[in-house]
């Protein structure tokens, strides 16, 4: 695989950032966009724009077809059984909120338990917390082990007769741990508990097969998959989408509206109220096709090589502590440097054009557990090279120099 030519497809790297070549190590936060995605948004607005699903004029029909084509691409990409199992949302956050809200409304009662893990991003905790207030449910957290992983035993330990749904991340955005989703789903289903997977970090980096994973819900973020912001996907088994109530009300999601009552639309319209992020959905198709062209196996392989190289280089540096050591790990390295706060690390690295993230990465529960107020995090995408990691390592040396370490 020719990374140099892949990297050339991302216009952001054509320009200097503060007179430096950009070393972008913040893809777990949001990925950069290939030219095809950017151009698609421009072309759609310039030549093809219309609202979808409503009018009968030429542009409206063409735009509707384009919009639906993305749904078909997503279905293919994640190997969902049915096209109508793909619901577009404004992001993974909205996808999780949709499930927490509608499932909570219908199935959760006082004293019921929702099982999460200590690795969860705030977006897979706060929506459930709302139900703690409104429905007096309980939230349990499966605990991480020393390596920063969630084992199947950790899940098993927290399942009780009150557990009504399990909602877990596919890949931790801090420790990089990849969770044993298939085992978790099998275990949960043996007890009739549905499983939601927060796939924000899974979908951009791992091969997905919904029929094989067999989870009930899978939340996807578009902007982490080389796609536009403002677009996400909720995959849900058809039986759930048929069964659960609508999430938001508005145009497009109804069947018939009368003063005496309202009936709701068929799938997938039922969950897509109002004018959706049309241009972004259509451009998201290009992200998926881009990833298919590169090949998810190649992406996985490339990022694994970067990870191994990064762990090796940073692991040799005695001042650096890497957070977590999961056996099955994605392209994320969170670290601390003794004597330098992560925010100072990020500012100093930025001076060399090295973009990382510092803070709690929206995982305060995990950071509290690790007894770390903040960590620095380098995360990889398809455009990264070993040179980027060498530059990271060199800039870390500069950091140590400034802080006299």
């Amino acid at each position: 695989m020719d990374i140099d030519s892949i990297k050339k497809e991302f216009p952001i790297f054509d320009n200097k950032v503060q007179n430096n070549d950009l070393v972008y190590l913040d893809s777990a936060n949001s990925s950069q966009k290939p030219r095809v995605v950017i151009d698609r948004i421009y072309d759609f607005y310039s030549k093809e724009f219309s609202n979808v699903g409503r009018s009968v004029h030429y542009l409206a029909v063409a735009a509707t077809n384009l919009y639906e084509n993305t749904r078909t691409s997503v279905q293919r990409y994640i190997n969902a059984k049915d096209k109508n199992e793909i619901v577009f949302t404004k992001g993974a956050t909205e996808a999780i909120n949709l499930v927490a809200n509608t499932f909570g409304q219908k199935y959760l009662e006082e004293g019921d338990e929702v099982l999460l893990t200590e690795l969860e991003h705030h977006s897979n905790y706060v929506p459930w917390h709302f139900l703690r207030n409104s429905k007096k449910i309980k939230i349990e957290f499966a605990e991480i082990n020393e390596a920063g992983e969630i084992t199947i035993e950790a899940i098993k330990n927290k399942i009780t007769s009150k557990t009504k749904i399990i909602s877990v991340t596919h890949l931790s955005n801090v420790t990089g741990a990849i969770l044993p989703i298939k085992e978790i789903v099998e275990l949960a289903h043996s007890k009739n508990i549905p499983v939601l997977v927060d796939g924000c970090q899974g979908a951009p980096h791992l091969k997905l097969d919904m029929q094989e994973l067999d989870c009930d819900f899978y939340a996807i973020s578009g902007h982490k998959m080389y796609g536009p912001t403002g677009i996400g996907v909720l995959y849900a088994k058809k039986k759930w989408l048929d069964d659960l109530p609508p999430y938001q009300g508005g145009g497009g999601m109804i069947n018939e509206v009368k003063k005496s009552g309202i009936s709701y639309g068929e799938l997938p319209n039922k969950y897509e109220a109002g004018t959706m992020a049309t241009a972004q959905v259509i451009a998201f198709n290009e992200s998926i096709k881009f990833m298919e062209k590169v090949g998810i196996e190649n992406i996985e392989k490339h990022e694994k090589e970067l990870l191994d190289y990064g762990l090796d280089i940073l692991g040799k540096n005695n001042s650096i502590k890497i957070v977590g050591n999961p056996k099955n790990k994605g392209g994320v390295i969170s670290f601390t440097i003794e004597g330098v706060h992560p925010h100072d690390i990020a500012t100093i690295l930025d001076e060399d054009g090295v973009a990382i993230r510092a803070g709690h990465h929206c995982c305060q529960i995990l950071h509290e557990k690790l007894k770390l107020p903040a960590t620095a995090r380098a995360s990889f995408g398809i455009y990264n090279t070993k040179d980027d990691i060498d530059q990271l390592s060199q800039s870390i040396e500069n950091c140590k120099k400034i802080f006299n370490i």
Binding site: V340, P342, T347, H360, F403
Partner: protein, 154 residues
């Protein structure tokens, strides 16, 4: 931009060995500050005597070199000052960090002002301004007996 201007010796020194990082016994005013984006926390304790003079000031918390140094230098400089003077220094510092070139107050001597001006390097780093100002806003909150936790995002 120049990292050397941001991370001057005095900042690194105060960041590494913050002065007054403790809890004042018998404090009569205090306030908490929080920066939700960084996770930085500060708790300021103040002991004003009957003449409204700062008999002691201290802080607890954690944060980056800039925020620790800023709290450390601040507590050093306002100790022994009267409440009204403290407020003037705080406002003057916040004005300087926001827009003004120099400190205007006549309370601090030149050496003290030079020390404080070491923090002016953050002006070139908009994302880091909050690190430098958190403890100062929190001090105002403590003096005014403002009950709500100071939050850099609201």
């Amino acid at each position: 931009m120049d990292l050397k201007e941001l991370y001057q010796e005095i900042i690194l020194d105060h960041g590494k060995n913050p002065r007054n990082l403790r809890k004042t016994e018998n404090f009569n005013k205090d306030a908490k500050g929080h920066n939700p984006l960084c996770g930085d926390n500060v708790h300021i304790y103040l002991k004003l005597n009957e003449n409204k003079k700062v008999e002691d000031i201290s802080f607890e918390g954690h944060g980056c070199a800039i925020s620790m140094a800023s709290a450390s230098i601040m507590t050093d400089l306002v100790k022994g000052k009267e409440e009204a003077e403290v407020k003037e220094i705080v406002n003057d510092f916040l004005d300087m960090i926001k827009e003004k070139e120099e400190l205007q107050n006549k309370i601090l001597n030149e050496d003290e002002k030079t020390k404080l001006m070491c923090l002016s390097g953050v002006k070139q780093y908009p994302m880091r301004v909050k690190c430098a100002t958190l403890s100062w806003h929190t001090l105002t909150s403590a003096i005014d007996d403002f009950q709500k936790i100071v939050n850099t995002e609201s």
